[in-house]
């Protein structure tokens, strides 16, 4: 797959560097959507051209979503929103409007007018079982992901940096969390608790 596609608007935007970037590394760039679905709507995009997620190499999918995870935390903290939606649309039938795989991060607040809901379709027990069987069969071989970039003995593009930062990150947030809770920031604490309590209520 060529790394850049001359006919692709997204590739052109990446090459021109005029987008409203909020994150960039060697493989991935994240832009603020200039016609956003919500305030702070971001699109995380691999720099190389891949139309849909299924055609995007594993190492890159892995990296893109690690960036998505970090940015969604940034959005939560910086914009003080109450939620986020992560949305990928693969194919025109799914509402994809640009020929380049991207992940939308959509910050959410109550009453923001957005509604990613669907009506449940009724399937008979038999139909459900058929779907279960064919999907299970097709999914039996899932695994053994190719986390190295092809033709390069490199993991995730920039090995040490990303792996070590990922490791740190795995610990960091917890450390920060605890610090926050212990420190004199009662507001953050209540917010976190309220959030958990709200969830518990829903379960009850």
């Amino acid at each position: 797959m060529s790394s850049e596609n001359a006919a692709c608007m997204v590739c052109q935007a990446v090459a021109s560097g005029t987008g409203m970037a909020v994150y960039e590394d060697d493989e991935v760039v994240a832009y603020l959507d200039e016609n956003p679905a919500a305030y702070g709507h971001l699109a995380v995009i691999p720099k190389s051209h891949h139309p849909i997620i299924e055609e995007t190499p594993d190492y890159l999918v892995n990296h893109v979503f690690q960036v998505v995870n970090k940015l969604s935390v940034v959005v939560f903290e910086e914009l003080k929103v109450q939620g986020t939606n992560i949305l990928v649309s693969n194919g025109i039938a799914a509402g994809q409007d640009l020929p380049h795989f991207m992940v939308n991060i959509i910050p959410r607040t109550e009453g923001d007018g957005l509604n990613f809901q669907w009506q449940a379709k009724h399937l008979s027990e038999e139909e459900m079982s058929t779907v279960e069987i064919v999907l299970k069969e097709q999914s039996a071989s899932i695994g053994a992901f190719e986390l190295k970039k092809k033709d390069e003995a490199i993991v995730l593009g920039k090995p040490e940096e990303i792996i070590s930062s990922a490791k740190e990150r795995k610990k960091e947030p917890k450390a920060e969390e605890k610090k926050e809770e212990k420190a004199d920031e009662p507001q953050a604490e209540t917010e976190e608790e309220n959030y958990l309590i709200r969830h518990l209520r829903r379960i009850a």
Binding site: V29, P36, N69, N85, N104, S139
Partner: protein, 238 residues
Amino acid sequence: MEQNLASLTEEDLKNMTPDQLRELQRKNCIFCQIISGKVQSKKVFEDEKSIAILDINPANPGHVLLMPKEHATIMPQISDIDIGYLFLVAKSLSKSGLKALKAEGSNIFVANGIAAGQKSPHFMIHIIPRKANDGIAGFGLLRRKMAKEELQAVQQAILKRSKESMPGNKAELILSLEAPKEPEKLEAKEQPPAIKFDKQKPKPSVEIRPAEETKGPEQSDDEGSIDLDDIARVLGRK
């Protein structure tokens, strides 16, 4: 277990440590019970870290819920490594839907938080196979017009924060190339205004995209990946 939770007062909950709260959540999580096998489900995939089941109220046939086995409520509670892994499984499950169910596309969707439409106490990734005119309208993105200044303020705020928490971030702030601003305005922007989204101003407008129009007539000869190639090629043509 339900009783256990119901007997707790708000005060009790407030006095619990985050670890205790999480343990309580896990105990009361229906999806943790599905994962442990206590509650029945239609599993389509399972490995050490994750499990994928059919949604019993599917948006479309083959609507799959992919979950980490370890209880987490929202994405920020999950490590980057695990998130990367889960979405690799999601990619593969999406491909399964395209191949096994002859889907023409898929939506991969996560709701973090009740405000985002989350209904389950367990983090999950929805993988929804799509076909043209399948009656699902929910994933079309409403688009708003926002003033350039407002966009730049939010870009600056997110960029500043992401530079702090993402050391490899090479992005730089480029202030409007086509229309250079007055120096005073630039100064004013250095201190972004408190972020408040004015819901009145932007007028959402639904983009209606004719699905068939853009479809190319070509068929791939490659038996194994006909669906995939077609989906990608149609997009490439646009």
